[in-house]
Amino acid sequence: SAVISQKPSRDICQRGTSLTIQCQVDSQVTMMFWYRQQPGQSLTLIATANQGSEATYESGFVIDKFPISRPNLTFSTLTVSNMSPEDSSIYLCSGGSADTQYFGPGTRLTVL
């Protein structure tokens, strides 16, 4: 198994600013993903974080808005850029293999 930590756990930000969320895994994992989840909704995949190369984004998500880094097999960051109230959500990172994913506790973002 893997234990995943995220920080910050929550933040309140002003529109137009950016926030970087960090995701740390306690062991090396082959896959890392970033998701967004609105209250009461399912998880929406933002992108696959690729180690040492550009992330693979899902339809509707672009690198300029959600730049992602993954410098090694245990760490990744997601930046939410030029935020608007519509970006208010819970952002979750996950790590694991094709057989299972372990999730971080999430970052609750509120944009005013």
Partner: protein
């Protein structure tokens, strides 16, 4: 599409009753995974099914993968209040992306 549909969306049961959630896809699934998310928590991996017709059990939970690999189910026998949460199925695509189903929210009434 990539998302799998789950039914029902919500389910309220009396404690001790059984519960079943279904996961349906229009395309063949290479595998299916099930996760549980408690209120205020994050998704926690329960199980993975890979083979056609596969059945796996975890105590009171029974997981099935359809013969055609287009659907799956999670059945809970004699629900307890600790079963409360949202149950998601998730599929893995060839590009190693995980897509989550729409989820079934379970409420257990004591």
């Amino acid at each position: 599409g990539q998302q799998v549909m789950q039914i029902p969306q919500y389910q309220h049961v009396q404690e001790g009753e059984d519960f079943t959630t279904y996961c349906n896809s229009s395309t063949t699934l290479s595998n299916i995974q099930w996760y549980k998310q408690r209120p205020g928590g994050h998704p926690v991996f329960l199980i993975q099914l890979v083979k056609s017709g596969e059945v796996k059990k975890q105590k009171r939970l029974t997981f099935q993968f359809g013969e055609a690999k287009k659907n799956s189910s999670l059945h809970i026998t004699a629900t307890q209040t600790t079963d409360v949460g949202t149950y998601f199925c998730a599929r893995l695509l060839s590009g190693n992306q995980f897509y989550f189903g729409t989820g079934t929210s379970l409420t257990v009434i004591p």
